[in-house]
């Protein structure tokens, strides 16, 4: 209470100090007068009375000073004085101030923008209860001599672990897919759906906003179809109607009753089926939640149905390591006791880390790069500040001689940097609003949690923090210089000469070297990213996308589903009619069909089983299955290497296959695969693979094609769609006209056949290629801009230091010229001065790069980190830039007029 009152009174006094000073003076004057009056009454003369009064009072000035200290907050006043002084200094050199603030605003703005993405995508915990206890649980294949591979979960294994493990509180199993929704009988949309065990919301600690979550009875066989809506889909499909609960929504052609709506903060993340391998997944926001009813097969198979994802909640106080150890041991024990032909274990990853695993490396790299750019900018400013500090040496000396303490000297100089950094930081935070928007337009759309990216309080705090760090980085060295000033010598010396002291020029050279070192690391990383990106685009893909338009349709409507009825026949009929209709569109040359849209990840992954050549289970090579039509191979221009393509004649006996060269190599080593049979690959009408299913004869070999993804060279088996009409159809239309004109025509043609099929994807194949490498392009574009910024800053840094030193030495150069030194000798002198920091910087930068690159390697595609072209090119670029920066000052040195230079003294 008392302390607070005193503080308040002191703060009040700060703002009224002028009035209060007058008040105090009046009071003290009154005191002296009263004392004089008393003294005179006692018989002293006026003069004597005054002397006595003053003597009795003690020091008037000291009293006033003590009084002031007692009254206000002296340290605050000191700061205010420093700030006023700093502002005055900065106003005096507007060029420097503007440059510094602009540099800082851009630098801090860029760092803050990148950080806001890093924060939302990588750091911010999910809005679930105790999110740090949530882990993603996957099975792992542990074969001797092979790398451990995490795979999706089997339902039976999940049930066992959930019941037996003691380190986890609970676990929920789910699958993420696309569901077709047609609210009012319109053409259906595909939205992201989560089909989950009923405990999912309880596990996450999410309470529905309206209605209820799932009950265990909702997941019983034969239970009524129910759905929980995300907040977004409640807005979209029911316009936020509070009476939506109890109404129905048509999902995949079935009416489902809405039982609940989730709160707006509940963003369910897209969790990869398996790390590292990209699977064909609908990377959309989860907008519908349905209870998972396990199929008979889910409950009985140990070796199939690895189709699920599991989130588990660790018990409080249980570490990841302990939970991992327990679950892994349980699963290993089960694998042994059940005599499974695979060695299965369990792998856990924290939820936040898992969701961001695909992008975290790229984002951290960008964050490091933008941090390096800011660092380089700070070094530039440090150099400028140092030059100013040198110029201010006389003034510092005067202040030191007049009794300013060392702390005061340092703090007044440092305040200037702090003022610059904080105003620059504030401007940077404003710029970051635009920066975040720019980044979001570049970031690939499949990065998780992008809708959570915005300038939040932690991001702004970060901006403030980084401003302080910047101030320290560029302000501390020049400020400390103030300490070293010896008033006597500084006052005596000409300030111009003092500036050229060995110490300060060494400090500046070191800073330039540090700057160049950072720049070269950034340049090498950038050129490696560019090399990797260009390799990714220019490598042999095994197909040609130009003039091809892609339309992906989904036959999730119930009439196409089988369950014993004639779903297969209806799908076949739809596919045939669509192919015919598309072929008749104007300008169309050919229409290919494939079951999964190209470049969206792995498809149906299975094992290659040969009846004539049995291999132990789980040792068979893995293959990707695509269902295609005979026009696929010529339309995609994938070379046929051996054998023949499908023909219309195969329709009568559709059990034939084309295989890729890799499949031939791995499945038929040293044999001619043509005419051999494979089995267990064509599903029956219940979508399962019967052990005694059709034998499929290999009739041809096609070249390897990176059709799953440009980085993915999976072994492929192509089967004709007649054998099993797929649920998802991708039409690839080669035409002479542009995609834009063709797309509406294609849409009309497909919806004429059935208006109730969804067409979620419609674009040119060139766009599809470009979208599929969005992460790499993002990395390349952003790194290139940071690299360019760093190079520019480094160029300015070298130029600034040289130009400054030439201007300081102009007298010396004048004398040299007057004494007969040749101009070329002077140019050489300046260039030699530049060469020292440049070479030092480039050398240490290369050494740093070798350390840093080890970490970058995983972000590159088939590009060695020690790529000579990237490293050599970067060095040459940097040296060229440094030479360019040195040319102007050295020419100026050579053109100094000796007479004018000597007169300047």
């Amino acid at each position: 209470m008392g302390v607070l009152r005193v503080l308040l009174s002191r703060c009040r006094a700060l703002f009224r100090s002028r009035n209060l000073d007058a008040d105090l003076d009046a009071e003290l004057r009154a005191h002296i007068e009263l004392a004089m009056a008393d003294n005179q009454r006692n018989g002293m003369s006026a003069e004597q009375a005054r002397t006595a009064a003053l003597r009795a009072f003690g020091g008037v000035t000291q009293t006033r000073e003590t009084y002031r200290v007692q009254r206000g907050l002296p340290w605050l006043e000191q700061i205010a004085r420093d700030v006023r002084f700093a502002l005055r200094q900065l106003r005096r050199s507007p060029g420097f101030t503007l440059t510094a603030m602009l540099t800082l605003a851009l630098g801090i703005g860029a760092v803050t923008s990148v950080f806001s993405v890093v924060h939302a995508v990588l750091l911010k915990p999910f809005a679930f209860r105790d999110p740090d206890r949530l882990v993603v649980l996957r099975e792992a294949v542990d074969e001797a001599g092979a790398e451990r591979i995490a795979i999706p979960d089997n339902y039976r294994h999940f049930l066992r672990l959930r019941n037996t493990a003691t380190t986890i509180e609970d676990a929920a199993i789910f699958a993420q897919s696309g569901a077709s929704v047609s609210p009012n009988g319109d053409h259906p949309h595909i939205v992201g759906a989560v089909v989950a065990s009923p405990n999912l919301f309880r596990l996450l600690g999410v309470q529905p906003l309206l209605g209820r979550g799932f009950l265990d009875s909702d997941a019983q066989k034969g239970a009524a179809e129910v759905v929980v809506l995300s907040y977004d889909s409640w807005q979209t499909f029911f316009a936020g109607d509070p009476k939506a609960v109890g109404q129905t929504l048509r999902i995949d052609g079935q009416r489902a009753t809405v039982i609940g709506v989730l709160p707006p903060g509940m963003q369910f993340p897209q969790i990869p089926l398996a790390p590292k391998t990209a699977f064909q997944e609908t990377a959309r926001d989860a907008r519908l939640f349905e209870p998972a009813v396990p199929s008979e097969r889910d409950l009985t198979t140990d070796m199939g149905g690895f189709n699920y994802k599991v989130i588990a909640r660790l018990k409080p106080g249980v570490t990841m390591a302990r939970a991992s150890a327990e679950l892994d041991a349980l699963q290993k024990a089960y694998t042994l006791s059940a005599h499974l032909p695979l060695h299965l274990g369990i792998a856990l990853t924290p939820l936040t880390e898992d969701v961001a695993s695909g992008i975290s490396g790229a984002l951290w790299l960008l964050f490091a790069a933008v941090g390096a750019v800011l660092l380089i900018a700070c070094v530039n400013l440090a150099n400028l500040q140092l030059a100013r500090a040198v110029n201010a040496e006389r003034e510092i000396a005067v202040r030191a001689a007049l009794g300013a303490s060392r702390i005061q000297l340092v703090s007044s100089r440092f305040t200037e940097s702090l003022v610059l950094a904080l105003t620059g930081g504030a401007a940077g935070a404003v710029l970051a609003f635009a920066g975040v928007r720019l980044l979001l337009s570049l970031v690939p759309a499949n990065v998780p949690r992008l809708d959570e990216v915005h300038l939040s309080t932690p991001v702004l705090l970060f901006a403030a923090g980084i401003s302080m760090v910047a101030a320290v980085t560029f302000g501390i060295l020049p400020a400390l210089r103030g300490l070293r000033v010896n008033p006597q010598s500084a006052l005596r010396a000409n300030s111009m000469r003092a500036a050229n002291s060995r110490q300060s020029s060494r400090a500046r050279n070191l800073m330039v070297a540090a700057q160049l070192a950072c720049t070269i690391v950034l340049l090498i990383v950038t050129s490696l990213a560019l090399r990797s990106f260009s390799h990714l685009l220019r490598q042999n893909r095994g197909f040609n996308t130009s003039h091809i338009t892609l339309a992906q349709t989904d036959l999730f409507e119930p009439q196409y589903d089988t369950d014993g009825s004639n779903g297969s026949a209806l799908r076949l009929d739809f596919t045939d009619r669509a192919l015919t209709a598309l072929r008749q569109l104007p300008g169309v040359q050919s229409v290919a069909l494939t079951s999964v849209a190209p470049l969206t990840g792995q498809t149906w992954v299975d094992n290659l089983i040969r009846p004539d050549h049995p291999v132990p289970t789980a040792k068979e090579p893995a293959i990707n299955v695509r269902w295609i039509n005979p026009e696929y191979v010529p339309t995609m221009q994938t070379p046929l290497v051996a054998g023949r393509n499908f023909t219309a004649a195969d329709r009568a006996n559709p059990y034939v296959a084309l295989i890729s060269q890799r499949t031939a190599r791995e499945g038929f080593p040293g044999e001619n695969p043509i005419g051999r049979t494979i089995t267990n690959i064509v599903p029956d009408d219940t979508h399962t693979l019967p052990d005694d299913g059709h034998k499929v004869t290999v009739i041809g070999i096609v070249a390897d094609a990176r059709i799953n993804g440009l980085k993915d060279n999976a072994a492929m088996v192509y089967l004709p769609y007649w054998a099993f009409p797929p649920f998802s159809l991708s039409f690839l239309v080669r035409s002479s006209g542009p995609s834009d004109a063709l797309i509406p025509e294609m849409q009309r043609a497909i919806w004429q056949i059935d208006p109730q099929v969804a067409i979620p994807t419609f674009k040119s194949m060139d766009d599809q290629v470009s979208d599929s490498v969005a992460t790499d392009r993002f990395q390349a574009i952003v790194l290139t801009s940071f690299g360019a910024a760093a190079l520019l800053l480094a160029l300015l840094g070298v130029y600034g230091v040289l130009a400054y030193s030439v201007s300081l030495r102009s007298q010396e150069f004048g004398i040299r010229i007057a004494l007969g030194s040749g101009k070329s000798a002077l140019v050489r002198l300046v260039l030699r001065q530049a060469a020292y920091p440049v070479l030092l910087g480039a050398g240490s930068g290369l050494a740093m790069a070798f350390v840093a690159l080890r970490w970058v390697g995983s972000l590159l595609y088939q590009t060695p980190v020690l790529d000579p072209l990237a490293i050599g090119g970067s060095v040459v670029l940097l040296l060229a830039a440094a030479a360019l920066a040195a040319v102007v000052p050295s020419c100026r040195a050579a053109s100094i007029d000796p007479i004018r230079a000597l007169r300047m003294e």
């Binding site: 302390v3 009071e27 007068e33 008037v60």
Partner: protein
């Protein structure tokens, strides 16, 4: 109230000022200084100036109030008077001082 309890001299001056105002009523700074000198029988060497930071301190704590007025010799001067909190504080300070004095006395008493 944890502030500055170690400084005995300062505490003493504060108490003297409060006691003076209690017995004399509203008084200006010079008057307070003179009164303290008189009561101490001029045995206290007090720079009159030191009274002002003390007065400010007491005012900041809310124990005394000040207002400008006219002195007995018709001069403008700032008059200080006790606040209600100040009266209470006198009791507290007196007790405190007596305890210290008693303790000191025990130390200074000739050991038997």
């Amino acid at each position: 109230m944890g502030e500055q309890k170690s400084d005995v001299l300062q505490g003493t001056l504060d108490l003297m000022v409060l006691k003076t105002l209690e017995s004399m009523g509203p008084l200006h700074g010079y008057g307070i200084a003179r009164r303290i000198e008189q009561v101490s029988g001029n045995s206290l060497s007090l720079n009159q100036g030191t009274i002002y930071p003390a007065l400010l301190r007491l005012e900041q704590r809310g124990w005394i109030k000040s207002e400008w007025g006219t002195s007995e010799t018709n001069r403008r001067a700032k008059f200080y008077s006790l606040s209600r909190a100040g009266r209470k504080q006198i009791e507290h300070e007196t007790e405190n001082w007596e305890r210290i004095a008693a303790t000191m006395a025990r130390f200074l008493a000739p050991s038997s």
